[in-house]
Symmetry: C2
Subunit: 207 residues, 2 copies
């Protein structure tokens, strides 16, 4: 059985948890408290030299880092990943957009507001990061104003990857009301079969 | 024929150019001068709402953004992408690592030093960005000390994605001598069949 090393408040980890749940793949969850440095221990760095969660450990002991690589791996060949080359490429494109243009701004702002003390010097980063987060949301809004999902008319791992932190935007002090198509898409994702809330302990399947 | 919208000094664009050249795929190159705002015009934003190069336009007029999604798309099914699921996942993992933990530090430092005036306020970002760049190089060094390429014993698009900016590290004021396995790997990449230098105008195939 696969083991997912994860921190429950991480949207990056939630991507894998949601896909595993929707695909009904059993897995073992090992909680890693990143706020206590548990992703920087010698033992963890031996599994992922980049010191980050989520990390997926396979049956042969090999480890796969990077949330979106894990997401693609667990969903490969399933209804969550289109086979057709151009649609598949668009899915990957949104996954890279998420890591480059969205996560460093929305998720990092959320992290600063949620996990660092109010007088922490990193608060100074917020105005610039939030402006970039709004730019990313505008790019998503454009796509979602003309199609129900990020890639065509099908729910895919592109939606999972972008949903993970977008639906927690209020925790990053972001107002989603200027993005009506995006808000409708959040509701659409939440109506998908076997959708699972981010912090829902019950969602995990063990066998 | 595909059209690549690109800026010649971009390592992100070079990933696609190198793969297209190694795979002997003809394409049309349209130069976009990002320093003159040509990636932010209304016409370009209609093709890529995120306003970035490289961008690949396909025969049906659809457009694919994100350098690593383009790289994966052009190389899909070729000798540059392993088929086996775990190796493929490791390749994607390095592609996400590149965009999240490497490019924003090494490439952005290079951009600040190479394209902004010496008194530009963004110079203040350099110490923090260069420290993160060295962290990324250390992660690569660990892998390359135990294997000839980033994924196992085969050259792949993972090597192309990481080579693109790593081999220009000196332009970001980074010294690669503390990373001997990485330096040997740079030479190994440059010995691959049909390798093409980053700014080599001759490398482009048109037909």
């Amino acid at each position: 059985m696969w083991t997912l090393y994860d921190y429950r408040d991480s949207g990056n980890g939630y991507k894998a948890r949601l896909a595993l749940h929707q695909l009904q793949i059993p897995y073992r969850l090992v909680e890693v408290d990143i706020m206590r440095g548990e992703s920087r221990t010698e033992a963890f760095l031996a599994k992922n030299p980049n010191g980050r969660i989520p990390l997926l450990e396979l049956d042969d002991g090999s480890c796969l880092p990077e949330s979106n690589a894990i997401l693609h791996f667990v969903a490969r060949g399933s209804w969550l990943v289109p086979e057709e080359a151009r649609a598949h490429a668009q899915v990957l494109s949104w996954l890279f957009f998420e890591q480059y243009s969205h996560e460093p701004y929305l998720a990092t702002s959320r992290f600063i507001l949620r996990h660092l003390p109010p007088d922490h010097p990193r608060r100074a980063e917020l105005p610039a990061r939030l402006e970039k987060a709004r730019e990313a949301l505008r790019v998503m809004e454009q796509q979602l104003a003309r199609a129900p999902y990020l890639v065509g008319d099908r729910y895919s791992i592109a939606d999972i990857a972008l949903y993970a932190y977008t639906h927690r935007a209020s925790e990053a002090s972001l107002d989603l009301s200027p993005f009506p198509a995006l808000c409708a898409w959040l509701a659409r994702v939440e109506a998908e079969p076997r959708w699972l809330a981010m912090l829902d302990e019950q969602g995990r399947i063990e066998s």
